[in-house]
């Protein structure tokens, strides 16, 4: 349900009951007015009846006064007769006003009035002559006239009474109707409002249920996505307690989500430095401190619940609410133990590939002196002259020395000291060039080595030999045929970002490298040599140099004689590396 629709429903739920109740109140008011009207008519009728009764009583008073006078001759008896006359006219006038709208009643009243006037004329006639007092006929006539008056009065009173009765009936039925209307109206409106509210509530609650369902579905979908991610995911609340773990995280930590929920991350996610076994900084603390996405320190190992160590790659990110508050932390990590092993195996295979590339050179280097020694042996067997024999033996010794020198430098490719030793880079490069000489000669590459300074650094000679073998062979390849390579060794003065050390620059006379290629050079399996290269040489070389605390930069040469690339290898004078680090192959 959209907000607009919800507001419409809200308006309906407010306005409809008010309008309905107003209508009900209107109907009730109308009914009350009708009842009041009936009541007024009843009162009116009562007033008329009262007037009639008073009129009759006054007329009777007059007649009684007149008769008393007739019988006694006492004039005081006439007081009521005279005093009533005026009020009687007043009552007539009052009655005329009250029934002015009813011609039937008016007719009745006029009859009373006429008959009364007749009687009154008769009474006055009698009073004018005292002799009439005893006239029985007259008295009888007077009585008849009075009877007619009173008959007319009674008639009118009866009519009024009937009218009152009718009004009374009407009032009672009106009151009943009012009650019925009140009860039925209230019941009807109540029912209507109930149904209406119910339907509105249904609508709103339906929409609410629908959105709850959608929310639930969306939440479920998100959980499913998180569960399906191939990397381990742990979601923590802001205080570092665990809220969610996906199955990969369960596998790697050894904790089930329901067991881990609510526990502190540090308890479940135990990380140590891969090399020193010192506990590593809790990522929750680090994220809280830095308030940004962090990658875990290199060489981090996760200790699972069962004690299994796994090397992991990890990143942690704050979960920020819309107002920037940190509401939680999400950790994503993966087991890179296998990857590390594979990398180590690759390093070994690259080492073998380097050796393989050298094999032809080596075979040549050894076969040459061996061939000579064979020849000398043949000559010695047949030579009788002592001086010649001596000469042959000396030559044979020289060739043997050369063979030994070659085999020694071969051995040093694989024999590695456990701790860094002093390495004279100039000598190291010369020995590398000795092994590569044949191959470079064959390719027509002229190598110039310039040792500007005689520099001794700490390092692992076999690994450095591997690096420079790679770099020189790459340079020879790039230089083309015939090509030139310049190797310069110079002291590197330290600055803020690097310690004092040595820089080896290898220039070639090739075409240089494009930025696109340069950006990929250090990626494993990247090669420009087709099936000839493993694509691992530079990647491994970088690893070795970094292990020594150094760096490799590849750019284009600025020397006029060497138009190609320039590889700069910086190595610090003192290495921080230990023999147990990455490029020492570990094959489990």
């Amino acid at each position: 349900m959209k907000l607009q629709e919800f507001q419409r429903v809200l308006r309906q739920a407010f306005l409809v009951p008010i309008l309905t109740l107003l209508a009900l109140a209107g109907i009730l008011l109308w009914q009350i007015a009708a009842t009041q009207k009936a009541q007024r008519w009843l009162d009116h009728s009562d007033e008329i009846s009262g007037e009639i009764a008073e009129l009759e009583s006054l007329i009777i008073d007059q007649e009684t006064g007149l008769r008393g006078y007739e019988l006694t001759g006492d004039a005081t008896m006439l007081v009521p007769f005279y005093s009533a006359a005026q009020p009687i006219q007043g009552h007539f006038a009052q009655l005329r006003r009250q029934i002015a709208d009813d011609p039937v009643k008016l007719r009745d009243l006029e009859r009373i009035s006429t008959r009364y006037e007749t009687w009154l004329s008769f009474a006055q006639a009698i009073l004018s002559s005292p002799a009439n007092f005893t006239n029985r006929n007259l008295n009888r006539h007077g009585g008849e006239l009075m009877y007619a008056v009173r008959d007319a009065v009674r008639q009118m009173a009866r009519a009024e009474d009937q009218s009152r009765q009718q009004w009374l009936k009407h009032t009672i039925s009106q009151e009943r109707r009012e009650i019925v209307v009140l009860l039925s109206g209230t019941a009807l409106v109540g029912l209507m409002l109930s149904f209406f509210s119910l339907s509105r509530l249904h609508k709103v609650s339906g929409a609410y249920r629908q959105s709850l369902f959608l929310l639930e579905k969306r939440g479920e979908k998100l959980r499913t996505i998180l569960r399906s991610i191939g990397d381990a995911v742990i979601v923590c609340q802001a205080d570092g307690s665990i809220e969610f773990m996906n199955p990969v995280a369960e596998d790697l930590t050894g904790w089930k989500e329901e067991e881990a929920a609510g526990r502190a991350l540090a308890e479940i996610f135990r990380i140590v430095n891969e090399e020193t076994n010192e506990p590593a900084e809790n990522p929750v603390e680090k994220v809280r401190r830095l308030k940004k996405v962090i990658g875990l320190a290199n060489h981090t190992a996760l200790i699972a619940r069962d004690g299994v160590r796994r090397i992991i790659d990890d990143s942690a990110a704050p979960i920020l609410s819309q107002d920037g508050q940190m509401t939680g932390i999400v950790l994503v990590f993966r087991d890179v133990t296998e990857k590390r092993r594979a990398e180590a195996a690759l390093a070994v295979s690259e080492k073998l590939a380097v050796a393989g590339r050298l094999a032809a050179s080596i075979a040549h280097e050894i076969h040459n002196p061996l061939d000579s020694i064979g020849n000398l042996h043949y000559l010695l067997a047949q030579e009788k002259d002592a001086a010649r024999r001596d000469e042959y033996l000396k030559m044979a010794q020289q060739e043997l020395d050369r063979t030994l020198q070659i085999s020694r430098s071969l051995l040093s490719l694989y024999r590695e000291p456990n701790a860094p030793v002093e390495v004279n880079l100039g000598e190291l490069l010369s020995s590398v060039l000795l092994l590569l000489r044949r191959r470079l000669d064959h390719q027509g590459t002229v190598v110039t080595q310039q040792n500007k300074d005689n520099i001794v650094i700490e390092g692992f000679p076999a690994e450095l030999r591997q690096v420079f073998t790679n770099l020189i062979l790459n340079a020879a390849e790039a230089a083309g045929r015939p090509g030139k390579i310049l190797i310069q060794i110079s002291r590197s003065v330290g600055n803020d970002s690097r310690a004092p050390g040595v820089t080896v620059e290898i220039y070639d006379s090739g075409a240089g490298i494009s930025p696109q290629v340069a950006s990929k050079l250090f990626q494993p399996f990247f090669t420009t040599k087709g099936s000839q290269g493993t694509g691992l040489g530079l990647w491994i070389s970088l690893g070795i140099v970094q292990k020594h605390g150094g760096s490799i930069h590849i750019g284009n040469s600025d020397l006029p004689e060497y138009t190609g690339a320039c590889v700069q290898v910086y190595l610090p004078a003192r290495t921080l590396a230990t023999a147990q680090s990455r490029s020492t192959p570990y094959v489990g």
């Binding site: 094999a359 032809a360 075979a363 040549h364 280097e365 050894i366 076969h367 040459n368 002196p369 061996l370 061939d371 000579s372 064979g374 020849n375 000398l376 042996h377 043949y378 000559l379 047949q382 030579e383 042959y392 030559m395 020289q398 060739e399 044949r438 000669d441 064959h442 027509g444 015939p482």
Partner: protein, 132 residues
């Protein structure tokens, strides 16, 4: 080998000591030996001693011009001259193998070298007779 008419061999190798020893061996075996330390020198010598060189013993891996290139140029100068490629190189290209009369690996010993040289020489003399 017939001492009266020694064959002249042009021996090309960049290893000074090895070349010296091989020269001693070949002279001991009765050859007249001319040595060259690289391709350019070999070609120059071959041209100056026109037709007096009966066989060329050629190394493959040499600075500057390799054995294959030298063989190609020698063939241009003299299509008939027998060339024995004598090398420590393990992966000799096929086109080079096709260019020379025989290939011998260094380290097989002096007897093998002398035997192969003889074979190559005999084969070329036979061909020469047939040609005539």
């Amino acid at each position: 080998m017939e001492k009266s008419a020694p064959f002249t061999v042009l021996c090309v190798d960049d290893e000074v000591l090895g070349l010296q020893i091989r020269k001693a061996l070949l002279e001991h075996a009765g050859f007249a030996v001319i040595t060259a330390l690289n391709g350019q020198e070999a070609l120059a010598l071959f041209q100056s001693k026109n037709h007096s060189i009966q066989i060329v013993l050629l190394d493959y891996l040499m600075p500057g011009m390799n054995g294959g290139e030298v063989a190609l140029k020698l063939r241009a100068l003299d299509p008939e001259v027998p060339i024995l490629m004598h090398t420590a190189c393990v992966d000799l290209p096929d086109e080079v193998r096709g260019l020379v009369d025989d290939v011998l690996s260094k380290g097989e010993g002096p007897q093998a070298l002398l035997h192969r040289m003889q074979q190559v020489l005999e084969a070329s003399q036979l061909a020469a007779k047939r040609g005539k």
